[in-house]
Amino acid sequence: MSAIAPPVPRLHIVTGKGGTGKTTVAAALALALAGPGRRVLLAEVEGRQGIAPLFDAPSLPYAERRLAAGLDGGEVFGQAVDAEEALLDYLTMFYKLGSAGRALRKFGAIDFATTIAPGLRDILLTGKLKEAVSRTEADRMAYDAVVLDAPPTGRVVKFLNVTVESGRLAKTGPIGKHSRSVARLLHSSLTAVHLVTTPAAMPVQETVDAHRDLLAADLPVGHVVFNKVAGTKTVDVTAEELREGLRRTGLPSDEDLVAALLEEHAASRVETEAVDSYRDRLERLGRPIEELALLPEGVDLSGLYQLARRLRPSLRGPRRAAPGTDAEGADRGE
């Protein structure tokens, strides 16, 4: 439509089926986005405290805390957003409730509101993110980017779209108004929803489904991250060659070992072929795909930086927001 490419996304929402490594990918993405002089906020909203262990850090508080140095000198801050705290924040902000806020909590009202009012919890959580995205400090944006370790694919559309829903339910009052402004951000090109999947049937299926549902809800899809891809060479090898090779290198070459190695080799080949077919399926979504190799020893802090370096090139664009030249934004340019 427009001749000008859409602005660089500043709110990155990372989702995926449970177990696909979306928290790890969100953390790596935050490190990758934290280039020289940049500040990035990495937030979680489900009270799982999944981020802190990745950085060998103590549990994250509600207040933002410096978590790690980004790639090349930026900074990553961490935050565990909690709905009750967010509601108190909100009440304080809009109604200057000091002690009355505490009274409300004692009374069970806060608990009630965040548990029962439909979607209020999600509205508060997304509202808090919007605040972090748009906050300014000393004439610059407080954060160059905000990365959210979001709820899993099964719930993410509901989570992101709750503000639209609540805009309808709460027709009057600040929640309604607030919801509509959050909805505008989430549906704009300032936001990108990234889908994380592993090479397995259910996660790939959920990615395809989520992609469809996000588009239907008019939410902006960013990258597909194909995670934990085991790279195995698929060469042909015979029992005879194996026996000979084992003997030559001084390893035992009994029939059991030869058969076992052949079986493992065949199993790996099946896996590799499956990976190819899943990749084909994901490519048909027409989104840029970032592939991350399986780290056989699991992801420790250095592994996290390794993944961040791998993600880095896909985020190439202007260091400071200067719309019009951004490759990632252009991916979605209509």
Binding site: L91, L97, G119, P152, L169, V237, G250, L294
Partner: protein, 371 residues
Amino acid sequence: MANDLDLDALLSDGGKRVVACCGSGGVGKTTTAAALALRAAERHGRRTVVLTIDPAHRLAQSLGMEALDNTPRPVDGLEGGSLDAMMLDMKRTFDDVVASHTTADRAAEIFANPFYQAVSSTFSGTQEYMAMEKLGQLRASGRWDLIVLDTPPSRSALDFLDAPARLARFLDGRVIRLLSASTPGSRRSMLSLMGASAAVFTRVFNKVLGGHLLTDVAEFTASLEDTFGGFRKRAEATFRALQGDQTSFLVVAAPEPAAINEAVYFSRRLTEERMPLDGMILNRLTPVRASLSAERALGAAATLEEQDPEHPVAAALRTHADRARRRAAELRVAARYGAACPDVPQARLPALGAEVVDLAGLRDFAAAAAG
């Protein structure tokens, strides 16, 4: 290495009436629940029903759960025994509860309330309440010897345990009574009893949520109280029943830090709540067949590659080394569970090459689990 969970003893125990599989998302809970139910029916001759929450499409197909009528349907193709399966329809279960506890007119009124529509279809936690409600219904029917339950993919697996208590808090809470009391027609002077903070409360909530929403909520909760105040009693009864010997909780996990942490946390909660935790099932271990250390395999591969960088045997050895290292890392992660919960018996299962999509796959899965 712990592999001491006797699933056959558990599934054949006539005293067990509910087996609940819990754990975080993506660990194979649904597959585990379906496989155990199949084995209970086929091997142990128990009239079994499996209640699943969100099965993969092809698994649902093979279990004949495609008819979304929210009632258990018999599974075809069994090798003996009787197995029914159903997929929970959260909204429908809620609607049924409302319909069965009130007059048709009143039910229609409730169904039309926008707050009810939101609560019954989107409210986080409703799925847990409804799984509990459905479990209660299945138990009460007496049609089955054994109910195998797949718990909802909660943000935290704990929501499932907390759901009845939260529901009770919701329905019985002072706040809800306050709201009910301020419904037109049943106005009582609750405010004076509660003093100034209540006044602040109503004022703030009217402003924050908008008067419109508050009225919807008030009407809805008033009708809840009138028509099915027994909701709380039933939720509590189900919760208590889960504490009894007739129930078995199995924690399902995969060898990844987040899943293991959830499993540990969940096991502790179950123990605190005096819920009968009978075992942990560790899914998706990388299968390793060859007994050759990763180090020796890598050394030999390097030697062969000196002659030919593309040596096929070197590739096979590297494949093995990769798998062996992956498995070793997985076992290190899984060891955290054994350290934290030394008294919980475990069953360890290799990742199956293909996705489990049919009865044969479930049978193999269960056979591997039962050891």
